[in-house]
């Protein structure tokens, strides 16, 4: 391992990699990169390379793990053997198990798990190349992968770390700052600024801590903007994405009923009759039965702590 640098911040107030103390490393985000996953994201942040994927909601085995009123979130943070300086043994370590746990909890407050009782939502975050801040990078990627999978969420989650070097607080640690710094404080927040992950090690005064949280949240908000930007521009021509008015976005149950039950058995000759009746008689009035219509209206202003238990049933049934 390299020797500890003498100074982390130069006379101009710049860090070893030329950044300002409140500047985050460059980040690139690609969405929907894996064909098998329900949602995925490849994220580079500094020299971190992270691949995140979401599978689900899907059936959960073994059954005893199922939660009757909500989906279980499983989060697996995993490092590729070649992602670090000294080869890491494949498979979970105590470190990766801890990170997986707190990362999962970072998403619990935003994911609408009660819409999918007894199912599981699997989030896999693979660290392909590790620089400093892999857990926060993984959370930023996972957040996008969840959105890409069509998982209902109250908002995205963004994460970043603050540390202390040369007695000064710095945003988004690089490797030497991480290795030799005096403190490390990773935080994840919701868009409302609520903190859903916080860990800390090192040495900070209470005053410094207060300052650090503020700085860190600012970093998170910057990342949130980048996440939004990436989602908005996944479709290159997003400006003129054009869904005409005459397209139904809900299943027209009546029309479907007609179509699906019409042909019975043989290749029949129902074509002529269809031609006339098919198009006119069902107007654009949405039917109350529409499949996707129902699952959300109920999330009213109720306070957060009530939701999980009460809504499970009514949401789906009405």
């Amino acid at each position: 391992m390299n020797d500890k640098p003498e100074k982390f911040i130069d006379e101009n107030g710049l860090r070893l990699d030329g950044r300002q103390i409140d500047e985050i490393r460059p980040m690139t985000i690609k969405i929907g990169v894996l064909s098998r996953a329900d949602g995925s994201c490849y994220l580079e942040w500094g020299n971190n390379k992270i691949l995140a994927a979401v599978y689900g909601p899907r059936e959960l085995h073994p059954r005893r793990l199922q939660k009757a009123d909500s989906a279980l979130i499983r989060y697996r943070y995993n490092m590729a053997a070649f992602s670090v300086e000294d080869r890491a043994r494949p498979g979970p370590s105590r470190r990766s198990i801890e990170i997986s746990k707190v990362s999962r909890e970072a998403f619990e407050p935003v994911v609408m798990t009660h819409l999918y009782p007894s199912a599981v939502i699997d989030v896999f975050a693979e660290v392909l190349q590790a620089d400093a801040g892999t857990r926060t990078a993984a959370i930023n990627a996972a957040s996008i992968a969840l959105a890409d999978a069509g998982i209902p969420m109250k908002g995205l989650v963004a994460a970043c770390a603050v540390g202390k070097v040369d007695g000064k607080l710095v945003l988004d640690l690089n490797k030497p700052e991480d290795n030799y710094g005096e403190a490390d404080l990773p935080i994840a927040i919701t868009q409302d600024g609520e903190i859903t992950l916080l860990q800390m090690d090192g040495d900070l005064t209470q005053e410094e801590f207060k300052e650090a949280v503020k700085l860190c949240k600012e970093g998170c908000y910057q990342i949130l903007e980048m996440q939004k930007e990436a989602l908005k521009t996944k479709f290159s021509d997003d400006a003129d994405i054009d869904i005409p008015d005459d397209i139904d976005e809900d299943v027209d149950v009546e029309a479907l009923e007609k179509c699906d039950t019409e042909d019975s058995g043989e290749e029949d000759v129902s074509d002529e009759s269809e031609e006339d009746e098919g198009s006119e008689d069902v107007d654009d009035e949405e039917e109350p039965e529409d499949v996707e219509e129902d699952f959300v209206d109920t999330v009213e202003e109720k306070t957060d702590d009530e939701e999980d238990t009460t809504e499970g049933g009514e949401v789906r049934e009405q």
């Binding site: 098998r36 996953a37 691949l51 994927a53 899907r58 590729a80 080869r87 392909l128 190349q129």
Partner: protein
């Protein structure tokens, strides 16, 4: 491995296509999917390759460490190949220690590299009997679109070809390129109802009852083989499969690996 039930209709569809000499994605029986090989993608590894066979993606990293040789080969370096079927790669893969499929693929890849003599292991000896270079080939499967085996084989040799031994930072002299002597490459042929085809995509791999992977070298010699799956092959099919695999390996070696040799 696959806990998903494949519908009979789909099975029949693939089978019927085969009878007409066709494949689901329009390829000829001896045609591979689009292949992409990118090397030096992971700075932390001494050699690395990101390989795509159609939808299948694997990332291979080579790490080098100083270690002790095995007593029976005191003057040779050590190769250790691992493969993980990460749950990120398929809804059918589960977290946990590698199961038989992953271990089989890792070992087939390993045998190809080892038995072909692709690496001059004597050049990986630092002090006989005491210190040698250990070569860790780690195969990280990212997306399973079928035929992980061939993508892994391609990734392993591509990563090795671009590996630099970090002797300097380990205090063992100057950095040197990995001593590569040959370029073994595995090609898998499947049998669906008597028809042989290379590079199966996922559905074909699920439908077929027999696979044969043939690892062949620059001079056309064979250094590793594995028959896998519940079915059987006739001798005639086997010989045909070997011929197909060796021909295809030569083609792919030329197309994707010839520029990498350092």
């Amino acid at each position: 491995m696959s806990n998903e039930v494949m519908s009979v209709l789909k099975r029949d569809y693939i089978y019927n296509l085969m009878l007409k000499g066709k494949r689901t994605d329009g390829r000829a029986f001896d045609e591979v999917r689009d292949i992409e090989v990118k090397t030096n993608v992971i700075d932390k590894a001494e050699g690395s390759a990101w390989v795509k066979y159609g939808d299948t993606e694997v990332l291979v990293g080579v790490k080098m460490q100083v270690g002790t040789p095995f007593p029976d080969s005191a003057g040779e370096g050590v190769i250790i190949t691992s493969l993980e079927l990460n749950p990120i790669a398929s809804p059918d893969f589960e977290a946990g220690p590698p199961r038989e499929n992953a271990i089989e693929m890792a070992r087939v890849t390993d045998r190809g590299v080892r038995e072909s003599g692709a690496i001059d292991l004597s050049k990986l000896c630092i002090t006989e009997g005491e210190e040698v270079w250990m070569v860790f080939i780690d195969i990280h499967v990212l997306n399973n679109g079928g035929n992980i085996q061939d993508a892994s084989s391609m990734g392993a040799i591509a990563a090795l070809l671009t590996t630099t031994i970090p002797a300097e930072s380990a205090g063992k002299g100057e950095d040197i390129a990995m001593p590569i002597k040959d370029i073994p490459l595995g090609v898998t042929v499947i049998n669906i109802g008597g028809s042989l085809m290379v590079d199966p995509e996922l559905d074909e791999e699920t439908v077929c009852d027999t696979k044969i992977t043939v690892v062949s070298n620059k001079d056309g010699s064979i250094s590793g083989m594995q028959k896998s799956g519940d079915g059987a092959l006739t001798e005639e099919q086997l010989l045909k499969a070997v011929e197909m695999a060796c021909e295809k390996a030569a083609e792919l070696r030329e197309a994707h690996l010839s520029d990498l040799q350092n």
